[in-house]
């Protein structure tokens, strides 16, 4: 599986492997620590930059549009 930013693919793979292992062996057995913090910090920083570069309005668009003035309406 790829990342939204090609440059983040390797970081994603390393993080995913670490997370999947933690989730199966630690989290499901009661561990409450943050999973793979160092790997995640590097990967997350790459992803956030890729999101910005591709102009994906991730956080701004997480709001209701239909029923508000942002809804696309047919011309009068």
């Amino acid at each position: 599986m790829n990342s939204v930013g090609e440059e983040c693919n390797e970081l994603k793979r390393s993080y995913d492997e670490c997370f999947n292992h933690w989730f199966a062996n630690k989290f499901l057995n009661g561990d409450r620590n943050e999973p793979c913090p160092d790997l995640f910090a590097k990967y997350q920083s790459c992803v956030k930059k890729a999101i910005k570069d591709k102009d994906i309005e991730l956080w701004e668009l997480e709001r209701n549009v239909l029923g508000t003035e942002h809804e696309k309406k047919p011309p009068k």
Partner: protein
């Protein structure tokens, strides 16, 4: 607006099902998802794991719909999930980010152990489709809901396939560990017998 609700029972324990949910893509049944990224993740004091993921998909809309909605290019979806290992609940909410001034597809999935059989897991899935501001909106809603139903079937097969893969990995790890131990034991035995 169109709503679809469905329930499905997986013949697998909750722990395995939720592991598979995080590892669902890529799979041979659904080629639409091209990328998955974790944008935020944290564990809170109650032990709940929160994840926010960005999904990149390529919508397979037919020509007539893409002319109405826009280009049939890459679309993005935002997925928020919460998993609690103590209460054994997983809730996942997804919404499209692309074209959401015209169409919103909200999906909520909940995984819980089956109340009568802890080796089974119940999935409850609810989808809400809303199309406004373009012609044939009701028709498009109907098409998208049908598409969701088809994808839900693919999704179940994908989950079963991923769970089988996970179980195979566990077996391989076990065999690998067993083989290493056997070899170590044989070496030890040989050394004991050796006259030197």
């Amino acid at each position: 607006m169109r709503i679809r609700q469905a329930e499905h029972v997986f013949d697998a324990p909750w722990d395995l099902v939720v592991r598979a949910q995080f590892r669902k893509y890529p799979n041979e049944f659904n080629n639409a998802v091209e990328g998955v990224d974790v944008v935020e993740r944290r564990v809170d004091k109650t032990g709940t794991l929160y994840s926010h993921r960005l999904l990149s998909t390529r919508w397979g809309l037919p020509g007539w719909a893409t002319k109405i909605i826009g280009s049939n290019g890459l679309g993005y979806g935002s997925e928020h999930s919460e998993v609690n290992a103590r209460t054994k609940t997983m809730e996942m909410k997804t919404r499209n980010l692309t074209f959401c001034n015209i169409i919103t597809v909200d999906e909520k999935m909940t995984y819980r152990p089956h109340p009568e059989d802890k080796n089974k897991t119940v999935l409850h899935q609810e989808s809400v489709v809303n199309v406004q501001g373009v012609p044939l909106s009701s028709y498009i809603e109907h098409y998208v809901i049908d598409n969701i139903a088809t994808n839900a079937e693919k999704g179940k097969k994908a989950m079963v396939s991923v769970m089988e893969k996970i179980q195979k990995e566990s077996l391989e790890l076990q065999h690998g560990a067993q083989k290493t131990m056997e070899e170590a034991f044989q070496k030890l035995h040989f050394n004991e017998r050796s006259p030197f």
